[in-house]
């Protein structure tokens, strides 16, 4: 393992009366693509703002590349790249002007670090004379990432870069992040989309200011404590309601056209369930044993906590 890039110990952040971050601890290794997965209000943005020295923690110690976020904030500001949650570039400046502005304030030029951003910037370069405000969502996001990268940061903080972005742009964005990670940059990224967890090396599942679990996506899924069936039978809502009532059911959640039914291993037999559903008038019943997704794990952890 590479040395520790980010280390957070017993971090708490309080805004007036609300606890935005509630005693969390974790470490991110150098060169890792680390994801914070959780809904709005989980504390992801507050955490990123602390790590990028924009907020001072109420309690706890945070270090980025061995530097303290409170004491050594000036050095940290030189080595980290940050993409805030809201699109934060100058809408009235062109693509090129935005990029060169951010290059200059970090004391570099576009030419100097062009190799690093080439991959991403090449896609928007044909529009470099266009005002940033006139770009589509996916292009804005690429420009913002280019601006965050232009000073060759050692570590990148991306706060919900894919929120409100369509599925295609999201997929492309994650491909870009993987390539950057392979180039040696440590990346911390937050997202409310559960399905993006698998694209990270390790993830922290966050809810209401707490980290519910940290591990690789594969390990988190392996730790899922229940057995899981995917049940289909025409209309999902009547099916879900039926499954909720079925003895032995732990949870029944809709997943698209199917319902994920979780239960204690051995308590439900698929064949019996099939028979039961048929007698209740459900037709075309298909039952399949499946492994959990991160979303299943997340919901399970939410109910425990």
């Amino acid at each position: 393992m590479d040395p520790v890039a980010v280390s957070v110990k017993n971090l708490t952040l309080r805004y007036k009366t609300t606890l935005a971050i509630d005693d969390i601890s974790f470490e991110v290794a150098g060169g890792e693509l680390f994801g914070f997965i959780g809904p709005d209000g989980a504390g992801k943005t507050s955490l990123f703002r602390i790590l990028t020295t924009l907020l001072v923690p109420t309690q706890g110690a945070c270090q980025v590349e061995g530097l303290d976020v409170v004491k050594d904030y000036r050095q940290i500001r030189n080595i980290c790249g940050y993409m805030p949650g809201k699109f934060s570039l100058y809408q009235d400046l062109t693509v090129e002007e935005n990029l060169s502005f951010f290059a200059t304030i970090f004391g570099t030029t576009i030419a100097e670090n062009y190799d690093l951003i080439k991959d991403i910037y090449a896609q928007i370069e044909p529009f470099k004379k266009r005002k940033a405000g006139k770009l589509s969502g996916g292009m804005k996001q690429k420009l913002a990432l280019s601006c965050a990268l232009i000073h060759k940061p050692q570590i990148l903080f991306l706060d919900e870069p894919t929120t409100g972005v369509d599925a295609v742009s999201r997929r492309e964005f994650w491909e870009m992040l993987k390539r950057l990670r392979d180039g040696g940059i440590t990346i911390l990224v937050s997202t409310p989309y559960m399905d993006e967890a698998e694209k990270c090396d390790r993830v922290a599942l966050m809810q209401a200011g707490k980290i519910m679990k940290i591990n690789t996506p594969a390990e988190i899924i392996k730790d899922y404590p229940h057995a899981l069936l995917s049940v289909r039978a025409g209309d999902v809502y009547p099916l879900m309601k039926e499954l909720m009532k079925y003895p032995g059911t732990h949870r029944a959640d809709t997943f698209g056209q199917s319902v994920h039914l979780s239960f204690k291993k051995g308590e439900i037999q698929p064949a019996e369930l099939q028979k039961h559903l048929s007698t209740k008038g459900h037709t075309n019943v298909e039952i399949e044993e499946i492994t959990a997704s991160i979303e299943d794990c997340f919901m399970d952890l939410m109910t425990i906590n």
Partner: protein, 245 residues
Amino acid sequence: MAVSSENIIIVKDLVKKFGSFVANDHLTFEVRKGEIFGFLGANGAGKTTAIKILCGLWYPTSGELNVAGYNIYTQREKVKQNIGYMSQKFSLYDDLTVFENIRFYGGIYGLRKKEISERSKSLMERLDLSAARDKLIRDIPLGWKQKLAFSVAMLHNPKIVFLDEPTGGVDPITRRQFWNLIYEAAHGGTTVFVTTHYMDESEYCDRVSIMVDGRIAALDTPEKLKFQFNASTMDDVFIQLARGK
């Protein structure tokens, strides 16, 4: 299912141009009464424009449109009286309480005082919000806000409710509870017109349309779309369509 054969939204050759840019390029589709209609598309594909036209906020450049039985050109006020609208962002006033928000929306839709108090009471009971009646919106959790915003959009019993990315940023459990509300509304006969970036949610819809570059590139049930594109998830369908332009 409560979907009837009656069409509640009829769109024929809808065109909307901004200068030389064509945001909506001859859209033609119908939405049936009681249907959950998913309206998907990449950023900038023209979804928002179409929704604004359907809600009577903008005039189209050309095309025939009938929403909730009324002509969009000549009966805009009637259209607005019969639709509800909820977007992720600006649906409720942060500095008003739960009840004040309900009362305000009831008021602007011309509900009588008695109707407002009856409906708000049953609504708050249904959403488990009775205890939070006098709390400011900014002080209640996001999940509650979204459920409340939806119920407020339904307060005047509209024929159609438009939901623009209603579940953005919500945790997975609340997201499912929210869809439960949508499902119940549709079951009660309200037509639901919804946009989302969560592709798994599109599978809860009765039918889904996918817009690419101002046109409707596909429109069918999620099942049939997946079959047609030989894909296992709607995510794949969407990506094939958006990339194959």
